[in-house]
């Protein structure tokens, strides 16, 4: 346990670290006006929001040559990619190609599946999260997760939010303030402020999912993993969550799995395309990373034939 900054580090901490370790990943907004040639390579205006993105993401989580097994079955092979700080990274691909599997391995939620095993290296701020001295509880506190189906606890709205800070022993001066802040952060406050003591089960699906996001940000993680967070929601609720993700990006790093390509195109800064390939002998379908790039690039000018086919709806 050396210098890895915790999830609660202030922004100064990580800019310090990145500016000494990786000068190329300085905040692009500052670098952009100074160097016109760098602007062409390093800095692009991506997506409708007009954000500047560095060519190379500022690493928060880094996968190097990751294989993931369920018992003898290799579900994912040879994944290497870097998830950038304060970016939204989407993972897309056909069903069963291992998107959820990769996502779960990023905060050690796959530890809960008997027989699941990760080889290769997954680092969080340079620290191997599967290292023998790493506490998975601590990892999950810094890398939170929102699930496919909204899963509020069978408690009041208030207690749903307060649960995380309580169990993790966060020092909280006022729980009421924290609850309000978290609900505001998840754009849910106005809808629930008069019924905080009521059961979370009374909320609509979209509200429940935003409650789950609020509950996640209440423990102040640095990264939020989302596994198809809108797949059980109607288009209006989906749009609200997409807007919310845009807001959350200022404070959090978001990694989202989606099988909805339009969603990836709308919200993500970078997109990783996965697909599954059947092994020669066994016929096991093992997922692999095909292409990872800026979302605009993936959707307008993909480098790989398979990406193009998938984007254009020819398979998957």
């Amino acid at each position: 346990m050396t210098t890895a900054p915790s999830g609660s580090t202030t922004p100064t901490d990580w800019t310090d670290m990145t500016s000494t370790d990786a000068p190329t990943t300085e905040r692009p907004a500052a670098a952009a006006p100074q160097d016109a040639s760098a602007r062409e390579i390093d800095v692009r205006v991506d997506r409708a929001s007009g954000r500047y993105l560095p060519e190379v993401p500022t690493p928060v989580i880094e996968c190097t040559d990751v294989d993931i097994f369920y018992g003898q079955f290799r579900a994912v092979h040879g994944v290497s990619l870097v998830y950038g700080k304060n970016e939204i990274t989407a993972m897309i691909g056909p069903s069963g190609c291992g998107k959820s599997t990769v996502l779960r391995s990023l905060n050690r939620m796959n530890d809960l599946i008997t027989g699941a095993r990760v080889t290769g290296k997954i680092t969080y701020h340079g620290q191997d999260i599967y290292g023998s001295d790493v506490d998975p509880i601590e990892v999950r506190r810094r890398i939170g997760m929102v699930f496919q189906k909204p899963n509020p606890f069978p408690k009041s709205i208030y207690d749903n939010i307060a649960y995380g800070p309580r169990v993790t022993g966060m020092k909280v001066s006022s729980m009421d303030d924290l609850v309000e802040e978290s609900l505001r952060g998840a754009a849910l406050w106005d809808e629930v402020k008069d019924k905080l003591k009521q059961s979370a089960y009374g909320l609509s699906g979209g509200q429940q999912q935003r409650l789950c996001i609020a509950r996640t940000i209440a423990v102040r993680p640095e990264v939020i993993l989302m596994d198809e967070p809108c797949s059980s929601l109607d288009p209006i609720a989906t749009a609200r969550i997409e807007d919310l993700m845009e807001d959350l990006r200022k404070d959090f790093t978001i990694i989202i799995v989606t099988h909805n390509m339009q969603q990836a195109a709308r919200v993500a800064d970078r997109t990783a395309f996965f697909t599954a390939k059947a092994a020669e002998g066994t016929g096991d379908r093992t997922g692999q990373l095909v292409e990872y790039d800026l979302t605009s690039k993936i959707f307008s000018n993909p480098a790989d034939r398979r990406t193009e086919d998938y984007i254009s709806g020819r398979f998957g």
């Binding site: 809960l112 999950r140 606890f153 995380g164 169990v167």
Partner: protein, 298 residues
Amino acid sequence: MATIGQLATQPIKARKHGAKSPASIAFLVALWCALGFSILCLLTLLITSVMDGLPRLDSNLLTQYTSQIAPERGGARAAIIGSLWVIAATAIMAIPLGIAAAVYLEEFADPRRWYNRLIEVNLQNLAAVPAIVYGLLTAGFALSIGLRRGVVLAGGIALALLILPVIIITAREALRAVPAEIRQGSLALGATPLQTVWRQTLPSAIPGVATGTILALSRALGEAAPLLLLGGLVTIRFDPNGLLSGFTTLPIQIFNWAGRAEADFQQLAAAAIILLLVMLLLMNALAILIRNRYQRQW
């Protein structure tokens, strides 16, 4: 074979597969007969007991000790209090142990380990072991630690052993019914597995656990065999007042009275049976109440 067009023109009301075919009617009749028979048995028991015992359903039954000299004024006081003592001792031992075992097996045990599989298989078998065997086991145990057999503690141990497998199995089912998403949600926030069990899984499972536990305790309340073996048969004329006190229970008292030739004792036995049945019905009603009140659709 009908084409789609033909099918569409046929009336959908015509009952071709309906509940009116002779086979399904015969089956239905058989089911009703089976149900009727069991209710009839129960009613016969209830009615004969009530008719026999009604004259003795008085306050003496609750407040008086059994009497050799004047059975017509005797009561089941020692047995009622003894039953309460033994059931309390049983509950104190069986409930925490049973829930803890269920939590271990359901939430923490790795099913691939051989010892966990061994426990699993044994648990299923233990639930089928005859009650009297637990009495024997406890008698041997009491002997080896120098405990008197016919005391509340020994009775409690025997009954706790008897219902432990039932409590474990029902508690596990209740835990299993709590969706995995709840646990995952808790763990993803950085809660430890222990916190997750303690604050999410177990509270969500409490109604199911409580229902199973009450049903198990009501079984223990009606059990006589292991306690007879432990020597609870003595006619007692004092209130048991501790774990090391001698005791009798309602089933033992009923067994004792019903074995007597005198009509007074027969009446007393019938009255005590009614009392026991009422207690059991109340416990089962409580279990059903809890189940319905807290039933949750996930």
